[in-house]
């Protein structure tokens, strides 16, 4: 056995340290969220916190801390964004990876990646100035700020990463599969949908997972278009998300108040939510890989 060089050993230690620091931060945040989030839940009661239908944290005589409207809004919002965004994103990815002439794809792919880097406040701004007035006019609403507006903005926001990841997954499908399908007399579109997409499904699932994560976690863009009233969610009404619920009130919630503690509890719920989604999706991705 050869003795390991000191340089090698010190690199190893450096990597280990970096890893430990990263893990430590995650654990610290988790611990902090739990510590900060539990008191309000204990005071309000878990059931009436999670399933209470009224959020009225600033009422001086009878404050209510029910976050069901926020939870449902976040779930519906993310689900809506996926329902709208994923089909469009997937079709675009198929176009870019398979159908588009190489030169056009070479132009569009970087453009799509660029879209992924646009700050969310810009999406919110465009939503606020263009989408919201348009919705109000088309649907004859008193105000365009609504769950629908938020869903559309979220759908557009998740598009770039859905397209990028799905297209990469589709490009990685071995050519042999597609040749085999074509040689059996399948048309190209048949081949894309029946062979390429199934073969790329774990990559596409990862793209969807990333989209869901982004949609659940987004605050700024939807803050600007959702109206932010803590109604039970309904497509054309003003709604408040878990994320925007925190963002709106944090500024003026008095330190140590129940209101402030409840906001941390919302943060904890959001955190658990995202953990749960990630675990579920990594399980499906793994299962998909085994087939």
């Amino acid at each position: 056995m050869t003795k390991r060089k000191p340089a090698e050993v010190s690199m190893q230690i450096l990597f280990l340290l970096c890893g430990l620091v990263a893990v430590a931060f995650v654990l610290l945040i988790t611990a902090y969220l739990i510590a900060a989030g539990l008191p309000a839940i204990r005071q309000v009661g878990l059931a009436s916190f999670l399933f209470g239908r009224t959020w009225d944290s600033t009422n001086e005589t009878d404050p209510r801390f029910g976050i069901l409207p926020l939870i449902l809004t976040s779930v519906y919002g993310a689900a809506g964004a996926i329902v709208v965004g994923v089909p469009i994103g997937l079709l675009t990815a198929i176009f870019l990876a398979k159908a588009a002439p190489p030169r056009l794809a070479g132009l569009l792919r970087p453009a799509v990646s660029l879209l992924a880097g646009i700050p969310s406040v810009v999406y919110g701004l465009v939503g606020m100035c263009v989408l919201v007035p348009a919705l109000r006019a088309w649907l004859n609403l008193p105000a365009g700020d609504s769950l629908l507006a938020a869903i559309l903005v979220l759908a557009v926001m998740i598009l770039p990463s859905v397209i990028d990841l799905s297209a990469a997954a589709l490009e990685a499908v071995p050519k042999e599969y597609e040749e085999a399908s074509l040689a059996l007399g399948a048309t190209e579109p048949e081949t894309w949908f029946r062979v390429s997409v199934p073969a790329a499904k774990s990559g596409i699932a990862a793209a969807v997972a990333l989209g869901i994560g982004r949609a659940i976690g987004e605050a700024m863009a939807i803050l600007m278009v959702a109206g932010n009233v803590a109604n039970m969610p309904s497509l054309l009404r003003s709604v408040r998300f878990l994320t925007t619920g925190i963002a709106i009130e944090m500024n003026y919630a008095a330190p140590g108040s129940l209101q402030r503690q409840a906001l941390f509890s919302i943060g904890l719920v959001l955190f658990l939510f995202i953990m749960l989604i990630n675990i579920l999706l990594s399980l499906t991705v793994k299962r998909g890989k085994e087939v």
Binding site: A183, L184, V195
Partner: protein
């Protein structure tokens, strides 16, 4: 008995961009026989095979001139339905390439794509095809398992079954046994001899014993030209052309 010609090439030229890969190929390929293409690497065997089912259409720079007819109809005439052509002329590739799906779904892929969804019909097609490809007994208990879990030889026979499931008339095999062990190769050779009754088989091989063992006619290609094309026995026992002789006796690069 005169051979019935199923495929006929006349003055066929093939270009990859400026590079000519086939030169003036003229040959009649008989129905219900095994025709072998031999020749050194890069001489155009695969290219010729893939012009027959128009797989070369996928290569943007590819260009064909001359005529190539299937049952007397020009394969490259405008308006030819390429998917229908490929249904009639199936292909098995050098590297086994089953889809990452179950054995059943692999074999059912073609019929399903072409509109068969009746479960009982599909079951029958899958079983028939797997039997015809001499793999039924090995996979009948694992039809729902991923085809990728099979051995290479089994995978290749599943690929043959998949090609047979769309009921082609011609089966093109491009070095279909070159990635396989001798036992799997022997199984597929036996299979080819059986399939000859119902299909026309055109195979590319680098294995001269294989060509001699199972083909009825053999074509020798060299640098894009068809040098000699005749009954296999004849080509191997008394080649007419010096270059053929050099090649089959191994005196050649």
């Amino acid at each position: 008995m005169p051979d019935k010609t199923i495929l006929s090439a006349k003055d066929l030229d093939f270009f990859y961009g400026p590079a000519q890969a086939l030169r003036h190929i003229t040959a009649n390929i008989p129905a219900n026989q095994v025709t072998a293409f031999i020749g050194p690497s890069g001489c155009g065997k695969s290219t010729f095979l893939r012009t027959i089912n128009r797989m070369n259409d996928l290569i943007p720079i590819a260009r064909v001139t001359g005529s190539l007819t299937f049952h007397g109809r020009d394969i490259y005439a405008p308006g030819v339905d390429v998917t229908a052509l490929r249904r009639q002329i199936g292909m098995v590739f050098q590297k086994p390439n089953p889809f990452p799906m179950s054995v059943y779904d692999n074999v059912a892929y073609g019929p399903r794509t072409h509109g068969t969804c009746d479960r009982a019909k599909l079951d029958a097609i899958v079983e028939d095809s797997l039997r015809a490809a001499a793999i039924w007994d090995e996979v009948k208990d694992r039809l729902k398992k991923s085809a990728l879990s099979l051995s290479g030889g089994q995978q290749q026979r599943v690929c043959i079954a998949r090609a047979l499931a769309v009921r082609p008339e011609v089966l093109l095999m491009d070095e279909a046994t070159s990635a396989l062990d001798p036992i799997s190769t022997a199984k597929i050779e036996d299979l080819i001899l059986e399939l000859r009754e119902r299909f026309t088989i055109i195979m590319v091989t680098h294995n001269m014993q294989q060509a001699a063992r199972i083909s009825d006619k053999t074509a020798f290609f060299l640098m894009g030209e068809l040098i000699e094309y005749t009954a296999t026995e004849r080509l191997f026992s008394m080649p007419r052309d010096k270059r053929t002789e050099d090649y089959i006796t191994g005196r050649f690069g």
